[in-house]
Symmetry: D2
Subunit: 371 residues, 4 copies
């Protein structure tokens, strides 16, 4: 099979590098275009990332690519004409407004944009996808294109890295008929979530920081869109995603001194129907979704791994489970105040960023959106 | 003023060393007797702690003391006769049953025992004291002595280090008439809480552990005894402490790679009457209690320090506030699910262990229980 | 090809687990026998390592093996008869004398013993092997067997993990005719080198320790045996390894808070003939030895990887290079006092322990010593 | 005694904050003027450092000062006229040329400038002072003033933080007649040495970096100026400091994950006369210099503290010794290659920066240079 040529916007940043690393030897996609800030443009990729490579093997396959200017959409169009870019991953790191404008421009120029940025997460007709949870939200893409007059281009986003470790487990329970009313969650988030240079070491040696700007709001709201439903506003068929009403979420987000892996301590209040601890374990253990059924290349075999040990999951021991794409849960037990307590963990720059984006691309490819 | 001579049991352990360090130059008390395991007995204190001193200055004042065998109560009695021991701090590290037996023996031999151990925390007529919160629980001591036939000896304990960062703030609100119904709390606890050698560095570099054995149970139950009331069972006047019914607590306890300082992320549900965020800040800022009014030597000037910065409290920056005896709170904001959220922090081996014990001794001295 | 069945002694320890992990899917060897302390004996391997598994995948392939008692040599003999053990890797963690006695017993019982322990490193007719450096020292094995009346059994050891990052690079220079006279080296060693539980986190958070018991002596002496030559004492043909006279080494060994990867800062004084920095880089870049020529399964393609960046090698970025079996060197520059300075790094539990042991087994297999 | 009013340039940076903290309650000096970059100018000091205060107590005493623009020398002159600034500490963080120009301007305007910056370290008539070592180098100040036509103003600097842990110990040996020929030193330097934000946590969690830009050159050269002598070039009496010829130093500088405290592993080659280990310990233990004799406020009682334990000095346990102004040495033993090995440690932001600067000011005050 000929691989689909793809571009990575923001390719020299932390998440951008992770995209490059994970797309090494991908069976469907091949990086043939890389763009970044004007500062990096014109350099070979391997030189542009020199001295700040975070992921082993990053530069091997695409090191010789000359980095384009991400602000220059016409360069991407030229790359497309040369057969080097059918769609783009966006790992742009700029102001939200700039990212929104730029992603729109790429979509208008005919590129499907699979974004890691938060700029378009609350655009009503842009789906925020976790491939195992709301794959059907891709149904809104046609409406999005029509509303904007875009031909082949469109935008999908993925949610914030902080919610990956509990949203899929909660969805698995909802899917089995257990309504989830309320949620109090404390996260212990790794420093790679702040990018590079990110958190100063003076703030992380012998310390934690009980605050991450904007993170609690995202953690509280994004699950509602992911669990929402597509609605169409009458005859004109303009679709939008209507948020779910539940669960109400209260989040405490903390930065802790681990390199990778976000942990969440979760207390859950169910509706009238409440599963037992054993039932929860059974549901999570057997949970599979579309990416598993269709064996997408980056899909974890088991999206949710249940650990029985007292002291798991731990970032160091569990973040890399199943290509770092699985969510590991443990300490599943009754809650003294609500109904259920558990700890969830996922790899924030893989499952929670570049890996999640690639899985979304695999989903879109399967659904025929990538041509 | 002649200082009261005191003994420290378990003097060579982590908390024991902290006792020795904090009693350096104490205006009321002077360490004149130190006991530890048979392994250390017979050595000079400075030699017994050689190579594992954790607190600067520990060995200066008492380094020349010959360590006694903590299991040998008669040695303490002899020390008392020699004028070297009026009461003891217990920082024993053994099995619970052994500690209980040993602390009973010291009390029976006439020593007030001010304990840091968990062995007697659930003995109904042993008060579990936070000096700013339930100082009136010392009223049960006479009943405890009578029931056991003890003359001058008795036992008081202090609660677990994990609850120090939120129990006093909650008490301050209750005292102002705000009933607290429910509490979901996630703690991020420093490694010194596990003693020495404690947590292996292989488990703490680039990692956290979402589990601390027994800690969640303690965090959930101990506040109920502290907030409880003394009851007397009829004519015979045998007293016991009856637990408060509220708050119901659900705790998630995590070990994180900081040396000292336990942090708690707290979500609070009030009863019908709910304070505003501003009211909460005002109550905490102005909170003072008996130790402050009477200016006990180790009492913090302000038991609760309110920080307005987004990213405080932090272990490194706030644990040492006011002799490491203050609780620092921050991020006081409404809760999306309950009523109020905040982050509390206290120094676990000072406020949460040796410092809290010494403050309890100061309280008992004031109340005339130390002769 | 039928795989050779092997046993691992000390299989539940840190290095033992690393052996199990690295032998997963090894093309020549298959773990069919695992022994450990009496405490673990009788349990399934996966249960014996429960809660302290350090290497992902460790328990998958051999989790169902019932752990034997490492002190019971007859059990290994029985396993050999059952076709489950042709030779053993020793990752025993006991006193030196006990290990020596036990390894002798296994050898006497007919087992080649490939040891990670330091017990036999200074036995004159036991070769201390780095497969790329002194593979010819296997020539002494026949003499060793004869002297002890052993038939098929024998013992080989590997050197300490602290010297792996500079011994191979130095050998590569010696081999090109550059005599090395003196060496001053400071190591920054990861905590996994101390096993588990090993170094307490209280000693590693916001700290380093400028001392590792016994490590400096090993670092100074072991290179001399590795670079030594086999001599035969006259007619009776009893062989022994005579130490090289040079280099004289002075080592400062430090423990630092990284999980894996030992770093060494090295200053080298050559003899009369001194290579230029460029020559050194060229020699190291092109260095290959027997394991590379014969493409042993665990041999790194390039035993020495030269990095040109200012700030490399780093444990996090370089320890895993080439299956964690390569030595990475950088900062190659003239020395202000001696002739040459450089920084070397290798993975201490792979290249410096289990991986190095397996590579030695591959060498011995190739030379016909494993039957 | 009326305190001398002082200004701090670069007062909001890491070292600047340390100056403010250490000058709290200083018996001779009082901060009455603080200047920083234009970005901070005009704010109250407590607001300008908001959210990045590193040292407890920093803002208490001078929090209300309005920060001046450090580039505006006339503002300092006005402050001087108002009685608020007799001399300045320079903790400026800019390009070297800019610092040099600015420090010159302050000196020309009549201010003694006591600098922490490296800009003027190699100006031949600017003394680089360690108060215990080369206090007599202040003799060059008059010549410096004459050569530049400065009246009361002048410039002195202090050396780099990396050399503090071994320069004073070496000087103590030289002073006793032991010539030091050569030195190979590896440093393990804390992250505060890089300022704030400084080293990203992604580079320090589970890692070390074997490189600090410019640090090795400083470590090798600065001791030679400090140990140098003042020479006068003939009749015109223009003085300059001539470097010592020895010791030749080769430095390997490493960044390690500790907050504060630089450690150095040192191998020393003496001249013909070589002290025994016991002699070295005796010399270091009894070493006292001018700051001790005259009991300067910030002078450590013992400039060099000798530890006998195997595993000391350690940053966490020893950096704060004697107001964080003492150098702690340990592991004093023969060197296999040179003559002597030892480990030295000093607090880099106190002894190695602000504390060292204040001690220099105390020296200059004593010598009458501060009016």
């Amino acid at each position: 099979m000929t691989k689909i040529p793809v571009g990575v916007l923001g390719a020299t940043g932390m998440v951008g590098q992770q995209y490059i690393a994970l797309l090494n030897n991908h069976p469907w996609f091949e990086v043939r275009y890389a763009a970044a800030s004007p500062k990096s443009a014109g350099k070979k990729y391997k030189d542009a990332t020199d001295g700040r490579v975070h992921y082993p093997g990053v530069t091997e396959s695409v090191g010789e690519l000359v980095v384009g200017d991400a602000n220059d959409v016409s360069a991407a169009v030229a790359a497309a004409k040369a057969g080097n870019c059918a769609f783009v991953f966006s790992a742009l790191e700029m102001g939200k407004d700039e990212i929104r404008t730029l992603e729109d421009a790429y979509a208008a120029a005919g590129f499907p944009v699979i974004s890691n940025a938060s700029a378009h997460r609350w655009t009503a007709d842009v789906p925020m996808l976790i491939a195992e949870v709301n794959h059907h939200h891709t149904d809104i893409i046609t409406s999005q294109q029509k509303a904007r007059g875009w031909d082949k281009g469109f935008i999908v986003v993925k949610p914030n890295c902080s919610i990956q470790s509990y949203t899929t487990p909660l969805y698995a329970l909802i899917q089995e008929g257990y309504e989830i009313k309320r949620l109090i969650v404390s996260t212990l988030q790794a420093v790679s979530g702040a990018g590079y240079p990110g958190v100063p070491s003076l703030d992380m040696i012998d310390n934690i920081i009980p605050y991450i700007g904007g993170e609690e709001e995202k953690s509280e709201l994004e699950p509602l869109k992911i669990l929402g439903s597509i609605e169409r506003a009458g005859a004109n068929e303009a679709g939008l995603i209507k948020n779910a009403e539940y669960p109400k979420v209260s989040a405490h987000c903390n930065r802790i001194p681990a390199n990778d892996g976000h942990t969440a301590c979760v207390s859950v209040e169910f509706g009238a129907k409440k599963p037992s601890v054993e039932e929860v374990k059974k549901i999570w253990t057997k949970f599979r979704s579309l990416p598993q059924e269709l064996k997408f290349p980056l899909a974890p075999e088991r999206p949710i791994i249940v650990r029985e040990e007292n002291d798991r999951p731990q970032p160091k021991k569990d973040r890399d489970a199943d290509k770092a794409m699985a969510v590991t849960v443990g300490r599943i037990r009754p809650c003294n105040v609500f109904d259920l307590r558990f700890v969830g963990l996922s790899h924030n720059t893989v499952r929670g960023a570049a890996g999640g984006g690639i899985l979304n691309a695999e989903l879109l490819k399967h659904k025929g959106f990538l041509g």
